[in-house]
């Protein structure tokens, strides 16, 4: 029994606990306690990781534990974390904790809601601790499928359509992924011996180039669908707009990073040659994601659609940075994963809270809300500033690092792509400021908006939790950057061998 398995066990126990509760009050308390424990565990993990590394541990992964699950196929349950996955686990714990409090008033079928939500989180945690591609894939699908129920039952708007579209596109992606993973498996023993799904073992094997060329695009696109890679991003605006608050938070905040993390840890890390050769295709696609997402956000009137498109743009930036394949850019990409995760979760939490009061998400039907709900309004502004990359917030650190890294490429293609992508920062600023100007500032448009109440305690708790992360990273980026940097080295070494 390894310590890391607790990250799966605690949510499962929470789910079992919730099954024995009745009514909203009992349910949400059990959920909050469970996820609170999870948050503590994640914090302990971060401190433990830093102390171990500080003491000079040179292992690629720590807390590794291994159980031979299906011996005849050499399928293992192997867990272990490095700095990257540890930080992403911490991100997930923060977002799900905030998500529980953001759905404090869930009245329709609360028990089922929290069970499904935590099931989704179980998949995410399991994904980040897995070192074996079989369990990784198992948890990946486990993280995707509860979305259907969460959006379909508790969503709003055209929820059935959105839920079905999202589920089919993501499961279609995971179908491609499955072929890619089986390809990795069956090419894992060129000299005979048992095949393996273990990432660390696979990294020692050199997969034939011809096979890489077939399996890399499948794996990259498979994960890329979840990372809203253009042109497979269309599930994202509809899905996020229809999903209930906590689900949007978790999905935009964490699940989309699952895709990016997979692209990086599985597709690029294990098939570096094909990644290097085919990077240009995906650089073009991700550049389109970034620019198109930003302009898409500019054109929307619905707050959720604006942030969904903004997520397409920002997660596109993560994939773009990963494909730059140098240490600075990838470091920036991981920072951006965490920064965007916190930021977008905060956005969606606030939108949910504002929608709960005004019953509209159309920005033109609101105005001057800053006067009546100053706490939520200020939070929204801060999230917006973080999102457009103002210094002092996490977004600035991440984006600067990415563009420094991207500019290290001297050739024309990378330069043009980088300049194009960097120009999206301006568009981001425009749409963020536009939204804030329209619905937070100015005159109050409706009489009844004068009577709105500001945030309740659980809403404050939810947003402040996320805010601490955003400002913390903005002010002390080195703390996180160091955690990530140490783990990047082996990956960079493997990638750069093939780069020139």
């Amino acid at each position: 029994m390894s310590i890391l398995s607790l990250f799966v066990l605690v949510p499962v126990l929470t789910i079992i606990g919730i099954m024995f509760t009745a009514g909203l009050k009992g349910t949400r308390i059990v959920a909050a306690v469970g996820m609170g424990v999870q948050l503590l565990l994640a914090a302990c993990l971060m401190f433990y990781y830093l102390s171990v590394k500080g003491a000079g541990d040179l292992h690629e992964m720590i807390l590794v534990s291994d159980y031979n699950w299906f011996p005849s196929l050499n399928i293992h349950y192997t867990v272990g974390v490095d700095g990257i996955s540890a930080s992403l686990i911490a991100l997930t714990a923060v977002v799900i904790f905030a998500g529980i409090f953001a759905s404090w008033g869930m009245e329709y079928l609360p028990r089922e809601f929290f069970i499904t939500l935590i099931l989704l989180a179980t998949g995410v945690f399991g994904f980040f601790i897995s070192l074996d591609l079989f369990t990784l894939f198992l948890f990946y699908e486990l993280a995707v499928i509860p979305m259907y129920l969460l959006i379909g039952i508790w969503g709003s708007g055209p929820k059935e359509m959105a839920a079905m579209k999202l589920t089919l596109m993501l499961m279609g992606g995971s179908a491609l992924l499955l072929v890619g993973l089986l390809g990795l498996y069956f090419y894992s023993a060129p000299n005979g011996g048992p095949y393996t799904f273990n990432i660390l073992e696979l990294a020692k094997v050199h997969m034939p180039y011809e096979a890489q060329r077939f399996f890399f695009p499948l794996t990259f696109v498979g994960f890329g669908v979840l990372g809203a890679l253009f042109p497979f991003h269309t599930w994202s605006p509809d899905g996020h707009a229809s999903a209930p608050t906590a689900v949007s938070m978790l999905h935009a905040g964490v699940l989309m990073k699952l895709g990016a993390y997979g692209c990086f840890r599985v597709a690029m890390f294990l098939m570096p040659e094909a990644a290097t050769e085919m990077a240009w295709i995906f650089i073009i696609l991700t550049s389109i994601s970034v620019v198109y997402g930003a302009f898409g956000a500019l054109m929307q009137k619905d707050l959720k659609y604006i942030n969904a498109y903004s997520s397409v743009s920002h997660v596109g930036l993560i994939l773009f940075a990963l494909l730059m394949m140098n240490q600075t850019a990838i470091d920036g990409a991981i920072l951006q994963m965490i920064s965007h995760g916190l930021m977008t979760a905060l956005f969606f939490a606030l939108i949910g809270m504002i929608y709960g009061r005004t019953h509209t998400r159309n920005i033109y039907e609101m105005g001057g809300l800053m006067k009546v709900i100053p706490f939520l309004g200020t939070m929204y502004m801060i999230a917006g500033f973080a999102s457009l990359g103002l210094p002092g917030f996490s977004g600035f650190v991440a984006e600067m690092t990415i563009f420094f890294g991207a500019f290290q490429h001297q050739d024309l293609f990378h330069r043009v792509a980088t300049i194009l992508v960097a120009s999206s920062i301006v568009v981001t600023a425009v749409y963020i400021l536009r939204v804030i100007g329209i619905f937070l500032l100015g005159q109050i448009k409706h009489e009844e908006h004068l009577r709105l109440q500001d945030a309740k305690w659980h809403e404050k708790l939810s947003t402040i939790t996320l805010m601490i992360g955003i400002i913390g990273i903005g002010i002390f980026p080195l703390w996180l950057s160091n955690t990530i940097m140490g783990s990047l080295q082996p990956i960079i070494d493997r990638l750069t061998v093939y780069l020139h």
């Binding site: 198992l138 059935e160 089919l168 279609g172 499955l178």
Partner: protein, 475 residues
């Protein structure tokens, strides 16, 4: 081999014969007003048979090699027994209906007789025993399909089944005769040595596959499936889609891996095409069904396509994944059919649109149905995910990655219609949902068995390893 060991080797078949005869005799001796007792009697008797069949035994041959028994065939028969036990547990509600008052025992007897035929078929060592087993299984099934003989759909299903079954048996026999003509033997072992890719054997093989394709309902031999499944009583449909299909898949795999072992290059191409057709056509037709039985019929056709991927793997791994998948399929499909049967018995609803709002009135049944559908769609963490993943692994071991790609795309399409049922139960609103009801105790037991299987067979890797150890010894 001593007499006692021979009896042990034949334990499944002998026990079933005894059980069938006992049910007939007891039914005759029951007084007119207490005929329903036969249901309990049959259930208890069959449970005993099921448990006794686990008696461990060695491998061996009987009747000069016509009958082969080993641990793997024993395990296959146990799977079939389990499936039949679940079907029996689910049939109580149907058999207690007024129109069935005079023919309760026949239901059990007919099913047990078909099972005997299937057991002989699985253990056959030559084509003659195989064919006799197959026919013994086929004819009572037509009677079962026409069990509601006064309903025209059911009668039609029976007639359709018997006619097409006879036709396919004829085709199959024709193929066997060609193989006999080319090799001069009907024994599997002899044929395996003499087999070659001569035109006559290829022709014989194609006839053989066509005949088996009918039994497994592979496209393009599937046309009977939906009509028969829809017309037959729902418990019989469950039996057809799980036990009858499962037995046919078992013997099909055994014959391919033993008799046609040396001409893999012929049958792999044929199976490739059949797998692609079966998955795709089955899925596309399932998309538009509203009747739950037709829906499950097409879904089970698509599942048969996935099973073919496991067979493509050949050898120990292929056999293991197929047997493992069918074990999971028993739990999964019978859970779905069980819920459908419970709802049909209580309210007469058998359309998917009729399931709207089911969760608000019957939450437990809806949850079991959801589990079953997720398992059919291959969603983790339930067993169907493991079953399907290993089928794909089996095909991958021979390098059929394009085929896997086609299969996974099909799996995604299938998700659309499985989610459609879940949407009806959980999301759609309905003014008049199926009223809340309590299903019978036996039904609940059966659904409990199925749910437990769906949850644990995947995680319990020991089961997979056990099957692997059995089949690696043979192939």
């Amino acid at each position: 081999m001593t007499g006692f060991q021979s009896i042990l080797l034949l334990r499944h078949e002998l026990l079933l014969i005894v059980a069938a005869l006992a049910i007939i005799v007891v039914d005759l001796s029951l007084p007119a007003g207490k005929k329903t007792r036969i249901i309990h009697f049959s259930l208890i008797l069959f449970s005993v048979v099921f448990l006794l069949s686990f008696f461990p035994t060695k491998s061996g041959e009987l009747f000069g090699g016509s009958f082969q028994g080993n641990q793997l065939t024993g395990f296959m028969k146990d799977i079939l027994n389990l499936a039949v036990l679940i079907v029996f547990l689910q049939s109580g509600g149907y058999l207690r209906k007024k129109e069935n008052a005079h023919k309760m025992a026949e239901f059990f007897v007919l099913i047990i007789f078909t099972l005997i035929g299937m057991d002989f078929m699985i253990s056959s060592g030559d084509f003659l025993t195989f064919f006799i087993g197959l026919e013994t299984a086929s004819i009572p099934i037509a009677g079962l399909a026409a069990y509601d003989q006064l309903k025209s759909r059911s009668a039609e299903a029976g007639v359709k089944l018997i006619l097409l079954s006879a036709l396919s048996s004829g085709v199959l026999l024709y193929g066997i005769s060609m193989i006999y003509g080319a090799t001069g033997s009907i024994y599997f072992k002899d044929i395996a040595l003499k087999i070659s890719s001569s035109p006559l054997i290829i022709l014989g093989f194609i006839f053989f596959v066509s005949g088996m394709g009918f039994k497994i309902s592979l496209v393009p031999f599937h046309l009977w499936t939906a009509d028969v499944y829809e017309g037959a009583p729902i418990n019989v449909t469950a039996y057809l889609s799980v036990v009858s299909k499962g037995a046919a898949v078992f013997i099909f795999a055994i014959i391919l891996f033993t008799v046609f072992k040396n001409v893999i290059h012929i049958w792999e191409n044929v199976l490739y095409a059949l797998a692609v057709l079966t998955m795709t056509i089955g899925n596309l037709f399932a998309l538009r069904q509203n009747n739950i039985k037709r829906f499950l019929a097409f879904s089970s056709i698509a599942q048969a396509g996935f099973i073919m991927l496991g067979i493509m793997g050949t050898g120990g791994l292929g056999m293991t994944t197929v047997v493992y998948f069918l074990l999971i399929y028993v739990f999964t499909n019978l859970a779905a059919f069980g819920v459908a049967a419970a709802i049909f018995d209580a309210s007469g609803v058998e359309t998917i649109s009729g399931y709207k709002g089911l969760y608000s009135t019957n939450p437990k049944l809806s949850l079991v149905m959801m589990l079953a559908l997720f398992s059919l769609a291959g969603i983790p963490p339930v067993a169907g995910f493991f079953g399907k993943f290993f089928l794909f692994t089996s095909a991958g071991s021979q390098g059929y990655f394009i085929l896997i790609l086609i299969a996974v795309i099909n799996a995604t399409i299938s998700l659309y219609y499985y989610l459609g049922v879940i949407k009806a139960m959980f999301i759609d609103k309905n003014d008049q949902p199926v009223a809340a009801f309590n299903s019978s105790v036996t039904m609940r037991i059966s659904l409990l068995i199925c749910s437990t299987g769906i949850f644990f067979v995947g995680f319990a890797s020991g089961i997979f390893e056990y099957i692997m150890s059995l089949s690696s010894m043979l192939f």
